[in-house]
């Protein structure tokens, strides 16, 4: 898997503890499973934690999640490092995840990735200097019929063209 754990990112975050509404939501999720199986809530809770922590999972946040679910920190780390949606380093305000898999490539995905790199002045795998963007080249997102495409937060932007990328980047810069 692509993620590697970065032990240098140890700064304590101000996002802990989570606000009560998030804790209530987490409590509700743990009740979806039989008693004693609350570890099943880990992935849904990590999504919540990542959103709360500006798009990435720091060690203090993961340790905090371990405490919430009554599991050991290592159980959280081994899951967070396995799944590609979890960022283990700080990310830009907007994470553009562009599909690089075969079907999208038949319809020009690589050109789009190159263009997005150029427009944001940011390489794949890096954050832009202004802290606005992180570009990720990711594997198939299930939108091959609407290629090329990228994921931005909880939504997809499909049938990408240079013009569409221009207006998206401008829109995000002004947000």
């Amino acid at each position: 898997m692509g993620n590697t754990y970065d032990t240098r990112t140890k700064e304590v975050t101000a996002k802990i503890p989570f606000p009560q509404d998030l804790l209530d939501k987490i409590e509700e999720i743990t009740k979806r499973y039989p008693a004693g199986k609350q570890k099943s809530a880990l992935i849904p809770v990590l999504h919540i934690a990542q959103k709360q922590n500006e798009g990435w999972l720091s060690i203090p946040v993961m340790d905090y999640v371990a405490g919430l679910l009554h599991i050991t920190p290592i159980e959280v780390y081994e899951v967070a490092t396995f799944y590609t949606m979890f960022n283990l380093k700080p990310v830009g305000k907007f994470v553009l995840e562009v599909c690089r898999t075969g079907p999208c490539c038949t319809r020009g995905a690589e050109k789009m990735i190159e263009y997005i790199e150029q427009k944001t002045n940011c390489k794949v795998g890096a954050n832009s200097a202004d802290g606005l963007f992180t570009i990720k080249a990711v594997e198939c997102l299930g939108a091959c019929g609407y290629a090329p495409m990228l994921q931005l937060g909880d939504s997809f932007v499909e049938f990408l063209t240079e013009e569409k990328v221009d207006s998206l980047i401008n829109e995000l810069k002004n947000k």
Binding site: Y83, T101, G102, P103, R107, C140, G145, Y146
Partner: protein
């Protein structure tokens, strides 16, 4: 014109909502099942229907259901596999986005048939907005008495939850999915025991694909015999095909199994032929894992018959001249597409998605990737083709889960059918090194290579 069993009401206004869905006969299968049928009778109808798992393996659903162990006092689970990640496949997403109530209805009837009182829809994390769509549909179904305690006064209880994954192709494999649902890394389990005996939290579990579950309401409403009348031979019913690549009309199509491939690829009702007036080169008919078929093998089977969109016809002749229907991810390549580059791309995918548990897959996909990278960039030798063949042969069949096979087959098929293209790369290194597919830089300089 194929029948529309799944997508019939897809264009009805407000079909995302309970009212519109109900007005079109939605949830009648729940009423029929809970009020007039025994769980065993539903399993029997599904068996008669000949419905086969729509996730890719094509295993008979009724048989899978009948394997479910039923020990006293131990809960059973139904888990819907909505971890759609096979490159080329986007049909489950379409179904869930457009007709969430159909999946919810299917989950209720199927859970009742299996005696499950808690069921989960495990959806890939990237489809996060669909989690909301499904949860809204579930809340509406519950508010109308189709979920929760004592559904329709039948005494049957069911809770249904949506669980997002974290981004891992391997979690589409059913035991990896169960590990992930238990809050762990998606490492597939050794089988046996199969999930039907020891699945979620070691309880008997059935895992079914979204499209499989969505077919159940129609079967309950219209009987398994009626379903079996659609299609051809052991490929009964309809199938959603996700069509992509270099075609005029990419999208999701519901076809009667047995539709001629010629009609599917070239008629304006479906793919609408190859885009931009280009020539048809090859097709991967069932998602990236299945062997690629060159144009000259696509239209006719080994016996010279017209090839059909069915499990049997697409596989006709084995891998020598056939492929697989798989998940129905239909990827079309025009004459401009480089098969070596596409094979390298898919191998990068499998290398990236290997869970790392089994050495042949973990190491083998990496070795194949390196050899393919060399060949694609004009640095390969003729021996590398044989080396590649040797590596894929040693992965296939030697891993816990089918990801190893899925990584090996595309490489084997590319060499089998397009060996001359590999040889061209080796004989023309200078051209390969400067080739850039319309990019500004050469592919060797790309940051995402």
């Amino acid at each position: 014109m194929s029948k529309k069993l799944l997508l019939e009401h897809i264009n009805v206004p407000n079909i995302l909502g309970f009212e519109a869905y109900r007005s079109k006969g939605g949830y009648t299968s729940v009423e029929k099942a809970l009020k007039t049928m025994s769980p065993e009778a539903i399993v029997e109808e599904v068996k008669k229907s000949g419905l086969r798992g729509r996730g890719g393996a094509g295993f008979p659903t009724g048989m899978k259901w009948s394997f479910l162990a039923k020990p006293e006092g131990i809960p059973r689970y139904l888990v819907c596999n909505a971890d759609e990640s096979e490159p080329g496949t986007f049909k489950d997403r379409y179904l869930m986005e457009k007709l969430p109530h159909l999946l919810v209805e299917g989950m209720i009837v199927s859970s009742f048939a299996l005696g499950a009182n808690t069921s989960y829809i495990y959806i890939r994390g990237e489809y996060m907005w669909i989690v909301g769509i499904l949860e809204k549909a579930i809340a509406e179904a519950k508010a109308n008495g189709f979920l929760g305690k004592n559904i329709l006064g039948s005494g049957y209880d069911l809770e249904l939850y949506v669980q997002p994954g974290g981004g891992a192709y391997i979690c589409g494999e059913e035991t990896a999915l169960l590990e992930s649902l238990e809050g762990k890394r998606g490492n597939p389990r050794m089988k046996p025991p199969f999930p039907a005996v020891k699945g979620l939290w070691q309880s008997p579990t059935v895992v079914n694909n979204v499209e499989t579950i969505a077919a159940v309401p129609w079967i309950v409403n219209n009987t398994g015999d009626e379903y079996a009348k659609i299609g051809i031979g052991k490929s009964t019913g309809t199938k959603l095909i996700s069509a992509g690549g270099n075609i005029n009309r990419p999208g999701v199509y519901e076809i009667d199994l047995g539709l001629p491939v010629d009609e599917f690829l070239n008629s304006d009702e479906y793919c609408g032929g190859i885009a931009n007036g280009k020539k048809f080169k090859a097709v991967v008919p069932g998602g990236s894992s299945v062997p690629i078929l060159p144009a000259e093998l696509f239209y006719k089977t080994a016996n010279g018959e017209d090839r059909l969109m069915s499990y049997e016809s697409l596989a006709d002749g084995g891998f020598a001249t056939g492929s697989m229907l798989g998940s129905g991810g239909f990827i079309v390549y025009d004459e401009d597409q480089c098969i070596v580059r596409n094979t390298w791309n898919f191998t990068r995918f499998y290398n990236h998605e290997s869970c790392g548990q089994c050495s042949p897959c973990r190491e083998g996909t990496g070795w194949m990737l390196k050899v393919l990278h060399k060949i694609e960039h004009g640095q390969g030798s003729m021996e590398d083709i044989d080396l590649l063949w040797d590596i894929q042969r040693r992965i296939e069949g030697n891993t816990i889960c089918p990801l190893g096979d899925a990584a090996a087959w595309p490489v084997a098929a590319a060499i089998r059918h397009f060996r001359e293209e590999f040889e061209w790369h080796i004989k023309n290194p200078a051209e390969c090194m400067v080739r850039n597919y319309g990019l500004k830089k050469s592919t060797l300089e790309l940051s995402f290579n």
